[in-house]
Amino acid sequence: MLFYSFFKSLVGKDVVVELKNDLSVCGTLHSVDQFLNIKLTEISVTDPDKYPHMLSVKNCFIRGSVVRYVQLPADECDTQLLQDAARKEAVQNKKR
């Protein structure tokens, strides 16, 4: 749930999603769900010559299981907060 909440806090920001098939999609994070499926709006493919099929697509839904990386702007990410949240989760999981 930690990263679901983390991505929810990033809705509206511009991100680059790199998929396991090496396709990179740049866009605005519209929404995310518990499976970390991602919906992006106003997308642009970083290498359109290699992937011409995305030319007529403005919004897309990306299945969470095919994501390799989500690249975020550094100033959008509070690493201290993330660390604290991760520690809390670790404690909770240990208790369970």
Binding site: L19, D33, N37, P52, S56, N59, R63, V66
Partner: protein, 133 residues
């Protein structure tokens, strides 16, 4: 997939003309009629679009039921942009022939790479499922 606001749901994409990229590299275009929590899809009036270079060809496929695990992404087709594609549509036979050529060239390159690695003592890693994307 649920009905909570702010969650990425495919419900909103129902009845829209979507472009679906599959893990084996195929591109399907069809109207989304049905979904479930695994992102299994039912596509209506589906065409398979094959791209080679700046050319493409469409093969009509009818109704497709796609298992969610094979889906890479779903894109909403913008009809205006569809009309302005800088790509040239060609006949099915032609695009299939071009695709075959592309596959042979790729295969040859793969063989060369494999040979080079084996010569250097690195054993080829065989994947269970060939994912072409």
């Amino acid at each position: 997939m649920n009905y909570l606001p702010g969650t990425a749901s495919l419900i909103e994409e129902i009845d829209k003309k979507l472009l679906v990229v599959l893990r084996d590299g195929r591109t399907l275009i069809g109207y989304l009629r049905s979904i479930d929590q695994f992102a299994n899809l039912v596509l209506h009036r589906t065409i398979e679009r094959i791209h080679v270079g700046k050319k493409y060809g469409d093969i009509p496929r009818g109704i497709f039921v796609v298992r969610g695990e094979n889906v890479v992404l779903l894109g909403e087709i913008d009809m205006e942009k569809e009309g302005q594609l800088p790509l040239e549509e060609v006949k099915i036979e032609e695009i299939l022939a071009m695709q075959q050529e592309e596959q042979t060239v790729k295969k040859q390159e793969e063989e060369k790479k494999k040979k080079a690695l084996v010569e250097r003592g690195i054993q080829p890693h065989v994947d269970q499922i060939q994912e072409d994307f």
